[in-house]
Symmetry: C3
Subunit: 176 residues, 3 copies
């Protein structure tokens, strides 16, 4: 566990001034709302629709990122793997039923190119409720996103979820 | 406890594209900020001002919604009942003093009609602090809202709060 | 612990209608995102850049504010004190390593003058992860902010953090 700034290779820090990205930021906020809705609402098979064909989806502990260890908890390369994962979660009953709820805050656009590629970060919080248990914090972390625009709509080229939470139970099989 | 998508009768799922509702979404965000401020700030008697005359206010467990059980924890039909509830909370001292704090995220506009009626959803999180206790999660849930526009301002025609949290203590007498 | 409305001397309650402040509200949201990023990312020495020269930074328990007790947990008057604090935190190793994450919600602009001074409030939630511990709520509270505009950018003339959470550990030495 380091106390150094968290940087992810290939993701720019971004400028302090967010004003030039105001509309983009709002669009990303809308993206998060719809993305989280699908997950919170158990529409897991709709989850792959937020990614482009050759997208990468990863979940990694902040500890591992800081130690430059590439091994993450989840690694999907390409839409086929993302769809496989969604299908597996939707069609197996190996997990206890649970409710998940996402909160997203502090969205920052860190880069935007003329070609329509946008990099952004945001803090997320996932709350989990299991039968006969209190609602608790499942995971707190940060989204590192790279978006492409296709048919006027932002889609994920890459989503790298880096979580602070060190003790994660098996429910992390669910995407965040 | 189901893992099926959560739908509420009479509330549309809404389209994936939020861009047409961008300004409306911001207005709703402002509504939430003011609504939550009043509750977090113990201005409970100002709470009814957010509703129209024949408004409905409900709080129901997600379990009950999924089981199609109409019985909720709180049910107010009409502004008179809403005002009664606010008065009762303000003028009785039967509850331990506590601080509440609301966080709202992932606002989605799900429908908007030419007549000014707007349907929207949002995730909420209510944090509670009691004397000599840690701040904890009181309730995580989703607002299902139907707004009308009166004198230029959005007011609630219906607010249905559906909470994930299964174990709720008596403090839920407070509106969310 | 009172249940009276929380007011801070010198801070207006603000009007119910937020529409006139829509763009300003968005600008403040961007400010929070960048401010929180710096803290969550352990860039503590960049923290003073968000304040004007004669800024005041305070953290006070809501209990104390309600009792009109001026003594707070943290009190910095002027940028020099703010910089001292940042330097001390960055260059001492007296605290256990931890990850912090901020969530901000319910931003309200409460006043805006022609000269560019803006008053605003927002709810914040700080999550903390220590080694081998679950992520937990460190502090829930409200920002009471007064901004000035300098070189086109909003900077804090005053930030008063009022926290609900009654039991705070020593990690509050970190700014919020």
């Amino acid at each position: 566990m380091e106390t150094a700034p968290l940087r992810l290779k290939g993701f720019p820090r971004g400028a302090v001034a967010q004003a030039p990205f105001r509309e983009l930021r709002r669009e990303i906020e809308e993206f998060h709302a719809e993305y989280c809705y699908v997950l919170d609402n158990n529409e897991i098979e709709a989850w792959p629709q937020f990614f482009v064909e050759d997208a990468v989806y990863r979940i990694t502990a902040r500890e591992n990122v800081e130690a430059d260890l590439p091994v993450g908890l989840v690694y999907c390369e390409g839409l086929a793997m993302i769809k496989d994962r969604a299908f597996a979660i939707a069609h197996t009953a190996m997990f206890d039923p649970r409710y998940l709820q996402h909160m997203v805050s502090n969205i920052r656009v860190t880069a935007a190119s003329a070609s329509g590629e946008v990099s952004a970060e945001a803090n997320y919080l996932v709350l989990q409720t299991l039968i006969d248990e209190d609602t608790r914090i499942l995971q707190a972390g940060r989204y590192f996103d790279r978006f492409l625009r296709q048919a006027g709509r932002l889609l994920l080229k890459e989503r790298h979820c880096v979580y602070d939470t060190l003790r994660i139970d098996n429910s992390l099989v669910y995407p965040v």
